[in-house]
């Protein structure tokens, strides 16, 4: 189909869809007046039931932890898929085309300023990942922040260090370990005779880093997985540019 014809057709039918969508939402409760009950029941009971102060993470890692297990495996699968698609085929011979010459040169001052920044990023990432049950944050966000640290190395042209960190086999193992340990936490509660993913650990004092039982544990597992996932994806995309090796045609 020609592009103009396609767009014209789309404007008609997409327009109908847009109108239907808007028309239907007129029947929604007015914006700003959520009626419940699900969220309200959780909000009222979360501190008492789970000794967690962040209701969002309590839902993610406890009330609806099984959803998050699924989501974590989507992440895991997507990363597997990316690695598989962009892998070196065994029959491909590589050849050196040289590294990219036109990368940005950063001044020495900027480079030296990067190191403290890197440290701050790592500490911040750990903080966010480990306080999920108390304040906004948790494994997903903390993991992404942690994963960004090596990219700072790359930006300040320490590509060797970047490569050593991100291409390490440990990263790949961490990815699988993060995924499997979440499932194993679920199975552990099964072994104890409780339903899958029951919060079986002592709940501790509200406000403590080690409170809320398995919530913190799951959050940590997710943190490991997300960090590893983003590192692997980043390295996979950058591999050719860093090594300067492309497969022969």
């Amino acid at each position: 189909m020609r592009e103009t014809v396609r767009t014209r057709f789309f404007l008609v039918f997409g327009g109908i869809f847009l109108l239907l969508f808007c028309y239907a939402t007129l029947n929604l409760p007015s914006w700003g007046y959520y009626r419940g009950p699900y969220g309200d029941v959780v909000s009222r009971n979360v501190v008492y039931q789970r000794h967690a102060t962040d209701a969002v993470n309590a839902i993610n890692y406890d009330y609806r932890a099984f959803d998050t297990l699924g989501e974590e495996f989507i992440l895991f699968t997507a990363v597997l898929g990316i690695m598989m698609l962009l892998r070196r085929q065994s029959d491909e011979t590589v050849r050196d085309v040289g590294k990219v010459a036109d990368s940005i040169r950063l001044s020495a001052t900027v480079q030296s300023a990067m190191m403290p920044m890197l440290l701050v990023t790592v500490v911040f990432g750990f903080y966010i990942a480990l306080h999920g049950q108390l304040t906004p944050g948790g494994g997903f966000q903390g993991g992404v922040i942690l994963a960004s640290a090596p990219f700072l190395l790359y930006v300040c042209e320490n590509t060797d260090a970047f490569r050593q960190i991100t291409s390490h086999t440990v990263v790949e193992i961490c990815d699988a370990t993060g995924a499997v340990s979440y499932a194993l936490i679920g199975l552990a509660s099964l072994v104890m005779g409780l339903p899958f993913l029951t919060n079986f650990l002592p709940l501790g004092t509200t406000g403590d880093v080690f409170s809320s039982g398995t919530i913190a544990l799951i959050s940590a597992a997710i943190g490991v997985e997300v960090t590893a996932a983003f590192l692997m994806v980043g390295y996979t995309y950058l591999e050719e540019i860093i090594t300067g090796e492309v497969p022969e045609e």
Binding site: M1, E3, R6, F9, F13, G14, I16, F17, L20, F21, Y23, A24, T25, L26, N27, L28, P29, Y34, R35, G36, P37, Y38, V41, D62, Y63, R64, A65, F66, D67, L69, G70, F73, I74, F76, T77, A78, L80, G81, M84, L85, R87, Q89, T169, E172, I173, D175, A176, T177, A179, V180, A183, L184, G186, L187, L190, G193, L194, P195, F196, T198
Partner: protein, 606 residues
Amino acid sequence: MSTPYALTPLPVAIPMVGAALIAGLRKWLSRRLADSLGILFAAATLMVSSALLAASIHSPGVYWFGNWFPRGSVVLGIGFVAEPVGVGLAVLAATLTLLSLVSSWRLIDSGANYFQPLMLIFLAGMCGFSLTVDIFNLFVFFELMSTAAFALCGLKTAEPAPLQGSFNFAVTNTIAAFLVLTGIGLLYAITGALNMAQIGLAINTRHDSLVLFAFTLLTCGFLIKAAVVPFHLWLPDAHAVAPTPVCVLFSGLMVQLGLFAIARLRFVVFAQTFANHEVQLRSIFLLLSALTVLVGGLMCYAEHHLKRMLAFSTICHSGIMLFAIALGGPLAFAAMLIYLLAHAFIKAGLFLTTGILLHRLRAIGERSLFAKGKTLRWTAALWFLGSFGLAAAPFFLTAAGEAGISHAAEQTGNSWISWLCFVGGALTSAAVLRVGMHIFFGWGSEPITDQTAEVGELPETAEEDQRIFWYQYAPAAISILIPILLVAFAGWMHMVEDASVSFTQQAATLHLIYSGRSMQVGGVNWMAALQDSGLRGLFAWALGFVLACTSVFRVSLTRRLRIGAFLESGFSPLRAMQSGHPGDYVLWLTIGLASFGASALMLLRS
């Protein structure tokens, strides 16, 4: 917690653990070890889900993750229901995965051991999808299943076509996921619930534009997965490029799970919504399914790429199953389940046979395979047996399903449906027969071909070993024989009957979810309807045979009798739809969405 239901999360958990294990140890595992682990975990999943099936037939149960029982009517956590229909689908998923993993032992290029973990995650996704009664959890497993499928589809990265096919697949199915998520959001806004039973209770008979639009979004999202016209365009592309063991799962179960989700939504969430609009709703769905059967059947006959041909046959049969959903009621639903089961195994058998051909003869196009399979007697036998199954011949389980659908159609005064089923069966079996006559007998002159007939020709197995191993034959033979054996020992159909009655009654599901116990539903008996298939399937096969002959022997026929050859050239508008361009696919999707939404709002509201 009583013991058998403690197994409920395992069909999801076991393959997940297996996948992570194999993926983590990927670099150190030999091919053989990775394959064995994959088979081991799939077999374990099959065992636990079978045990669960046995328990759930005895008495269905409900499983609350994290020990979050409902508080009054508010459901706090995520629930799985262990009722025979969903668990049965999980068993089917595990069986098909096991069969395809066995058939790909050592042979299929596993892409450095990425293949096995992805297959296991795919299995986990399908199991979770069929067990859950939480609507957001349904979305999560929909995404999990899709993501694994996208990756598996692009396994053969050596040529551009697989990447294009999987890109189209990924784009359309990701849009499907967002449609579903938007629908979930709208329902959550008015009910404040994510459990299907609770949502069903809350919306009750409400059928304003909002509920209807949410229904449109959810249904269209799953219709995309179910490859119903005009949402079907991604399916042939995905099948053409995916490795054959993956096609087994795509055609055997993934597509039909879309229909299953629609059924679950219709019988649990929207059970009361259309109380006064049954007829209108039925006509919308009947129109879609009739279109699907015709387009699928005609395009199936017009294809010359073996996998694409079988993919269009899946579309056609998906239309037949959608008839059952359109008709509604326990009889039609039971017929759909039986048809689904039979179709899954027949399609699996045909795809596995195609895999053998691709492995042995290193080609996939009808013309390039012409007369090359004369020595492959067993492969030929399986292939032709499969054609009887597609036509719903009386000794195949498909016949029972089709008979049930026809019976339900007559009850609602739509007996034309059985004729469309007949046409669909005839066209798809004709295509399979034509290909079989060309490849295995070398009859007639050189086959007609088309542009896409050689896409993905690159064999998926290594060059050096072209022998056919027993573990390639065995899964194919088992798959073809199961639907025959299931007819011979038909006692199990009573269970489908009972399961379908409680599945289609909202009250039974509500009772199960809120009390954890099953509800006694009134005894029914329409076993006769399922077994009264008659000889129609044989006639369909015979018609297919004649049609195939008019194609194969076209040169020795007068111009007017070359019906097969005429159908084979295809209809240019239908072919033009199949452009391989993601923009076109999204456009067709929008057209379908807007038309469905507009007709739902116009017909179902008043």
